[in-house]
Symmetry: none
Subunit: 622 residues, 2 copies
């Protein structure tokens, strides 16, 4: 593993690093290429650590539910007995048993005219084929609102069909069904699934054992007093916490001084005990930085310089034998933590058996709350707090302040690394950048307000009004759109059917009328959206598309596609409409058919698209 | 705590629950109102659990850095000496010392004409007021690219101003500065900050001890065989994992049978040992459901019915004395886990000292990938997988499938609870709903932008090179096709975001440029395939289709259709692109959108078609 270049590096210290500068993406790819899933281990389900992965598919040994089970508290009945209960003010059945959960109903039979009280989840008795929920029954004696443990008869108020409120055998999970595939990451829901299937012992790929070592003659323990040129070692505490936060086992390897022999011995010893060793310090160009030459000598050094800020000297090596990974992070506290998020976290996920592409970071686009200066030479991983901004319906990123790599305060409270490109100038406030999520998105600062989703019908109806106030998502701009409606229909005006499809602002009969109206609205009134209805079929007087198409400056075939798709869900004859859609100036024009039903079907497809398009046409690009 | 209504409830079982139905928001507010921060404890920093909070402000006892420190590996100089170095081809200084990190520079003085070699983080010697980085220096003897440990003089190539590459005392953290305020949640970054300030012992509000109890005569342990009406207890395993996943201490309280006396004894014992007891089962209307009357008798029952699906019978009580919380969850496995996320997680955060508003859930707006039926009576917490959709720059939610409360499969892999309003009808695909995040957002499904040279992105990425060697199955002819790529994007060229969608062979901004380029490539270079990316949307400057369509001699609407179909598999907003495809001479031209993800999706549809088309265009009909 020694070549001329390496020998040169070990003879003296170059003024510039001789390691090629690679990109962050290349570096992550190299780490994931080298990291391999650890050998599987078998353990009781209760001991499985969250974040480990299953080494094999989990197969349900029996069906769930294992018997036909009641979904409700109520009465197990023969459905046919209740057929006319709803109409006749109820029917009275004899109560032959009380079946609570866990009772084996094998010995109990419900015959015609009989029923059995049954609780949720209990096993259905023989003969019964439905359950009437308790709310749909009435006691026969005493306080009719109460149930009596000794009741002999009950009044059924509502008839039920066979199968009502029953979960058949295997309806949740079939016998032999693969409930979880190999490689699935274990979370509480997966533990529950395994438990419910009776899989009490599992084989998993465990989380790695990660050793944490600090290097540097200048370091003292956090509890010690500092003097002279000494500083406190914060990286080790940070990294130990980082590893534990991922659920893995952290091994404290202490502070190792900058002496080549000591370091080598410490590393060799650590590699006996750990799957990964993460060091900090000793990787820059300083003359006491001994890690790189040592790693080159012990194994394969995959990279030693990354085009990023902070974290440029981050180093990655593997040591042969039982292949172990060494990540050598810079000594600056922020560089160390940022590079651990970027390289160590994916490596740990990969070692614990996650598929390579799932080892990457959560990645979203965020709106910058403030203008950030870019680094002209290196992509920067800028620490930020990302929150959901409900006023612009977008994730918003606030910088944590000055980003010097020694300033741990820039990590305080941060939940994201903004990926700022290497470029001159700035990323302006309001622009979108990629963010890697490294922590939870905090709750909304205003108290939760959960329920403002609306059914699709409501929005469609609103869009049919002249002015539409719609707050829209990713663009982050509140769109107020003006809508003009043009009804093209001689039949409507002749009273053949009511013109329900639009509270029209204009009604036109001839191609010339249509064109004049469209041009007026696009060029003078400058409305955002024109919807026409009628005149798109194959009738001799259907001229709407022919009138409008020549006026459009840009066609929108996708909207036509969406209209067909929406219509075809309801009738194959939807293809008999000949819609056109496109823009003139900043106005979107869409032709709709004449029938109310078809208009409603089409609007279901269009409404979700409109705010976004209009937003773009209004020039609110981001 | 006994009133007439409660006495009635304990006498017999009402057919309808007598508890008022409250909203989820009210229920969370009640839980947070009752939950109080646990008493603080003092412990070594290394033992502080992640997720606990600081009980007091953390104040820096001394400044950081504690001395003026070098930011670079280089030479500590008197700045005035170097003033004219840049202009005059450098100045030569005497090297009087070598100061590595940890060396106390107190005895070293740098005078005029002198300098000291210094490494990153080391203490600046007296007299020096700036550092020249090693890259801006040159050795005087031997191999000038190497540094010599014995060097007596060095050439400074670049002048520096006083203060360059120096961190003054206290520039990162001032003495007495509050680095973390009381109530701050501890994560690895906070541990690092405390360590760097020398705060090795901290007083925190710990995470709660949470007891987990299952109730029900029908339950057996996951490892036991089932028979009769028995089912396996999955809730306890799920909840124990859930509590551990939050970093808190979980106590397994086992299965308690549905006998009032046994339950009371078990609960009283549990409340001695735990801060919170979470039970599952025994809260619905079945007659063996004993939890609610018992809790009413033991303490204060705050709510017993919530307007939500699943989870309606969820119950919350406090028991006096050292106030303890009891959350009684429904027995259905999904109801149990959903309500634990909704009510137990915030309670645990509040007990561990987080500010009330920070105990709420992460909440974002997501676009529905599919139409979901609404429940007309109760708001539903619909389990979903939320991912980032880079083509529409929004979070996209896919349902986990049928949502029956017994079906644990609906929790599998879910990272969000969609808050669907109680309403008739549906929430249409493409509409926005609120989502509570209960897990990590997975990494991008397309191999991250980083990897677009590898894996699934390979086809797209390869096609982006000038020549593409593609062996294709069906035709049997090995087609070598020349591909030209045209990137249409002003945003990319302005550095607003990295132009990831293609290492372009050409970049055009105007329609004229685009047309000139297309004609050149079709008519002169005669490439087989031109792919463009960008400029197909509704933005005001999106002109690619308009520029290209008039140049095409034959249109290929089928390719446009294929593009839409491919896109619609991922998002209903795919129709917002306005692609054109067709031929000019023997060149096929296809316009693609600007986003990497959309390009990859489209290429999946196009790649299988391309060799055949190009083959035909080349005249190799077969």
């Amino acid at each position: 593993m020694q070549d001329a270049k390496q020998q040169q590096r070990s003879r003296g210290r170059g003024r510039e690093s001789s390691f090629p500068m690679i990109s962050v993406d290349e570096a992550i790819a190299m780490v994931l290429e080298e990291a391999e899933a650890l050998p599987p281990v078998t353990m009781p389900l209760a001991d499985v650590p969250m974040g480990s992965t299953l080494s094999a598919d989990a197969v349900a040994p029996d069906p769930l539910p294992p018997f036909p089970a009641s979904i409700m508290d109520g009465y197990a009945v023969v459905a046919a007995d209740t057929a006319e209960a709803s109409a006749n003010g109820g029917c009275v059945l004899e109560v032959v048993a009380r079946i609570t959960a866990g009772v084996d109903a094998a010995a109990i039979t419900v015959g015609p005219g009989q029923c059995a009280y049954i609780t949720t989840g209990a096993k259905l008795p023989k003969g019964a084929d439905a359950v009437v929920k308790v709310e749909d029954t009435q006691a026969m004696a005493g306080d009719a609102s109460l149930m009596d443990a000794d009741e002999k008869t009950v009044r059924i108020l509502k008839g039920v069909a066979a199968g009502t409120s029953i979960r058949p055998i295997g309806s949740d999970i079939a016998q032999g069904e693969v409930v979880l595939t190999a490689g699935t990451r274990v979370t509480p829901a997966e533990v529950g699934l395994l438990a419910t299937c009776g899989i009490a012992t599992v084989t998993i790929t465990p989380l790695p054992v990660v050793g944490i070592m600090s290097t540097g003659d200048e370091l003292v323990e956090p509890g010690e007093s500092i003097s002279g040129g000494m500083i406190r070692d914060s990286n080790r505490a940070t990294l130990l916490a980082f590893v534990k936060a991922q659920g893995a086992t952290a091994v404290d390897l202490g502070i190792v001084r900058d002496v080549a022999g000591g370091l080598e011995e410490a590393l060799k010893d650590a590699l006996q005990r750990c799957d990964v060793v993460v060091t900090s310090g000793g990787v820059s160009m300083g003359e006491a930085d001994l890690i790189k030459p040592l790693l080159e000598q012990m194994g394969t050094l995959h990279f030693g310089r990354i085009c990023m800020k902070p974290g440029k000297p981050t180093t990655f090596a593997t040591v042969p034998g039982e292949k172990k990974l060494v990540l050598a992070m810079p000594g600056n506290p922020v560089s160390c933590l940022v590079t651990s998020h970027l390289f160590c976290a994916p490596a740990m996920r990969r070692l614990s058996g996650q598929a390579r592409h799932l080892c990457m970071h959560s990645q979203v686009q965020v709106v910058l709350a403030e203008t950030l200066k870019l680094d002209p030479e290196r992509p920067e991983y800028h620490r930020a707090v990302v929150t959901w901004d409900s006023s612009q319906n977008a994730l918003l990123a606030n910088s944590t302040g000055p980003q010097a790599s020694c300033r741990l305060l820039s990590m305080r409270g941060s939940n994201a690394l903004l990926c700022l490109p290497a470029a001159s100038g700035v990323a302006a406030a309001g622009s979108l950048v990629t963010a890697l999520l490294i922590g939870d998105i905090p709750p909304p600062s205003a108290p939760a307000r959960c329920f403002h989703a609306r059914a699709a019908g409501a929005s469609a109806a609103e869009a049919q009004h002249g002015s539409h106030d719609h707050a829209h998502g990713a663009s982050g701009v509140r769109t107020v759109m003006t809508v003009a409606l043009l009804t093209v229909s001689d039949r409507a005006s002749q009273g053949v059917y009511e013109d329900l499809s639009g509270p029209a602002m204009a009604k036109c009969l001839t191609a010339e009328d249509i064109q004049a109206c469209i041009m007026e609205w696009c060029d003078v009134a400058k409305v955002d959206l024109i919807l026409t209805s009628g005149g798109t079929g194959f009738g001799r007087r259907d001229l709407t598309p022919e009138a409008i198409a020549p006026l459009l400056q840009r066609h929108a075939p996708g909207i036509v596609h969406a209209i067909y798709q929406a219509g075809l869900k309801h009738t194959p004859l939807a293809v008999l409409s000949r819609p056109v859609a496109g823009t003139r100036g900043n106005t979107l024009v869409v032709t709709l058919p004449g029938s109310v039903k078809a208009v409603n079907e089409n609007m279901t497809a269009l409404v979700p698209l409109l705010p976004r398009i209009v937003n773009l046409l209004q020039g609110n690009e981001c």
